[in-house]
Symmetry: C2
Subunit: 381 residues, 2 copies
């Protein structure tokens, strides 16, 4: 029994104002060729098929085409769940028809938790759901966090599953606590969004989506496949691949990663403007890659972005060293070392990264009050 585990396709993704649909089409064609060569018993897509609840129509057409090719033309069973970027209800439309063709699309969470049985394996498919949704669906008022929700769900699955069979969990969640992570620490940092890895202990293999790197967790039986492609410059150095999992009869498995090569890579280059525009330099470069350019010049520059784009047509983002210096200075004001940061300092850092606004003293006071209030609430429970 062999499956291909992938996730986080994010069809319809806009990166710095540019739709990635054509690039996604190319990579997905490569993917369907891989499916044709490997002939897996199932393709598992662990959420975030689309980048948003109402994706552009070109993305809708692309998903339709690629799934039809894999499921109908190549006769490969497909198991897919919705992620936090998908609309559970919109993605769910038609799933009752699809499953007759071994295309199991679980958009909405349901309270049955009955597995999909394929080739001797049981797949438990749990789409992304907010704690509130799970609380309502399971009528369990004790569910307040993702950790609570997942623990309750897995408990219900455990009650009905046969541990002597091979059981696979398919989910879309922020799971922490692998071999090399200080799980307690990160759980307290990540807050209610995270789920501890030990929740998934009952399963032989846990196929996850949500985090975009295949190295996001180091664990023997829990794995993120990583996203289909690089979707931001923070992922520039990640490798992008799908995972081929081959199960043996005792529930063990082997893993093989297959890299997908988009036509245009996403990466950063750095230098003085003149250096980057020098043919000696750029002739050794793949100039049509998607680029973030870090300019090291200090003085004023005339229209650097358009000069760069004459050589590198797909410059998506330009940063000046001077800005970096500013940012570095700013960072020096904030409390120094990660380990020593208070919750409030961590929130300030998060706030400033997310909003690019200053976390003013009055905001700090307000947030501090909220945190104290929540702390008291939690302690009095």
């Amino acid at each position: 029994m062999k499956i291909i585990h992938t996730a986080d396709w994010h069809l319809g993704k806009l990166v710095h104002g540019l739709y990635m649909t054509d690039d996604q089409r190319e990579v997905l064609n490569e993917f369907s060729q891989l499916v044709e060569e490997e002939r897996p018993d199932a393709v598992v897509i662990a959420g975030d098929l689309y980048d948003r609840s109402v994706p552009p129509t070109a993305a809708v057409q692309l998903l339709d085409e690629i799934l039809f090719k894999i499921n109908v033309e190549l006769k490969t069973p497909v198991i897919a769940i919705s992620g936090n970027h998908d609309s559970a209800e919109r993605l769910h439309f038609g799933s009752s028809w699809y499953k007759q063709n071994h295309f199991y699309l679980q958009g909405k969470l349901d309270s049955e938790f009955s597995p999909i049985r394929l080739g001797g394996l049981n797949f438990y498919t749990i789409p992304y759901a907010e704690p509130g949704t799970v609380r309502q669906l399971l009528e369990d008022d004790s569910i307040h966090s993702h950790q609570d929700a997942m623990k309750t769900i897995v408990g219900k699955i455990e009650n009905q599953m046969n541990p002597n069979e091979t059981n696979v969990f398919v989910g879309h969640a922020f799971v922490l606590g692998g071999k090399e992570t200080d799980s307690e620490r990160t759980l307290s940092v990540g807050g209610s969004g995270a789920v501890a890895s030990d929740v998934f202990a009952p399963f032989d293999y846990t196929a996850l989506g949500h985090l975009h790197s295949p190295d996001a967790i180091k664990h023997d039986s829990i794995r993120y496949s990583g996203s289909l492609m690089k979707y931001s410059f923070s992922e520039a150095k990640q490798r992008k691949s799908v995972s081929i999992i081959e199960f043996n009869e005792k529930g063990g498995f082997s893993i093989e990663e297959k890299c997908l090569q988009p036509k245009r890579d996403m990466r950063e280059i750095e230098g003085m403007l003149d250096e980057l525009l020098d043919p000696d330099y750029y002739q050794s470069q793949k100039v049509d890659d998607y680029l973030k350019v870090n300019l090291l010049d200090e003085g004023a520059l005339i229209d650097p972005i358009n000069k760069l784009r004459k050589v590198y047509p797909n410059v998506l983002h330009l940063e000046r060293k001077i800005e970096n210096v500013d940012a570095r200075k700013k960072r020096e004001y904030s409390p120094s070392h990660h380990d020593k940061k208070s919750d409030l300092d961590l929130f300030q850092q998060f706030y400033e990264e997310m909003t690019t606004q200053t976390f003013s003293e009055s905001k700090r006071v307000t947030m501090s009050k909220i945190m104290q209030h929540v702390k008291r609430e939690v302690e009095s429970r």
Copy 2:
């Protein structure tokens, strides 16, 4: 061979700020009971399944449920096309899977025009498409109007169809020119949006959607089923029904209308506020209907809408007689008689009805220039 012809479900419709989804669910449950009793060989839905390209998720779930019930549980083939309110691409998603279950969902127009063969009948399904879309798809630069587009499409169908078989056209368009209409006149009024009924002469039966009344056209073989429900007060006096068409072996057919009864009707009532609030009056009324109330009082009234809503909870719209008098006066200013109106006068009337803005002298001059320009263009072709 028996089909049920329906159209214009407009799921997710907002009427005066109120979502009709619950009412639509009730009527559709009634409809699926009818399907269960009648056991037709196919249900034909001639477009506008949704009210907009991105309908609310409750509407998505409702369509999924009702089609699953009819198609899968009741094992009834379903033929559906998209209308101008649907998103062709979004609705099309998954149609390759559905058709394996005899659910033929034509979201996007394709250039094949091959029929669906069911029970000895050929169904040609033509979703709503703008003239520009058809021009591009068929690579035919002579297509400028809906009339051109439909004529070309029907021509292509005619080339490949067998006239000795029974051929049914399923479309979503503004078709004019039945028995009781002066077709040339109305075509010149309606402009490029309309299609002449004689275009559909090759078909034994033409199942249309778009216009909401089953009386919209009087023609032996062309029929609007009308919408599922009343969707505006201008439809208050229309009957709402679906059409059961029973074909005999010679291509002839009989028509039976089946009315659907929503829990709440949509209608107008008129009177003085005191009269309408008098128990002697309202006790004979179905007070929870969706109402437009025309108040005949002339003086000032204190909070009439809330007084009315205590008795009639679903008053959606309130009009005062005084406003009607104003409107009547306004109308007197516009050129007197329909038959004598110039194109410009007709446009003015259309503009004022659609925008509720005044058609100023400067707008009149601009429009007059445009009309002259277009006229010259057309004449010089």
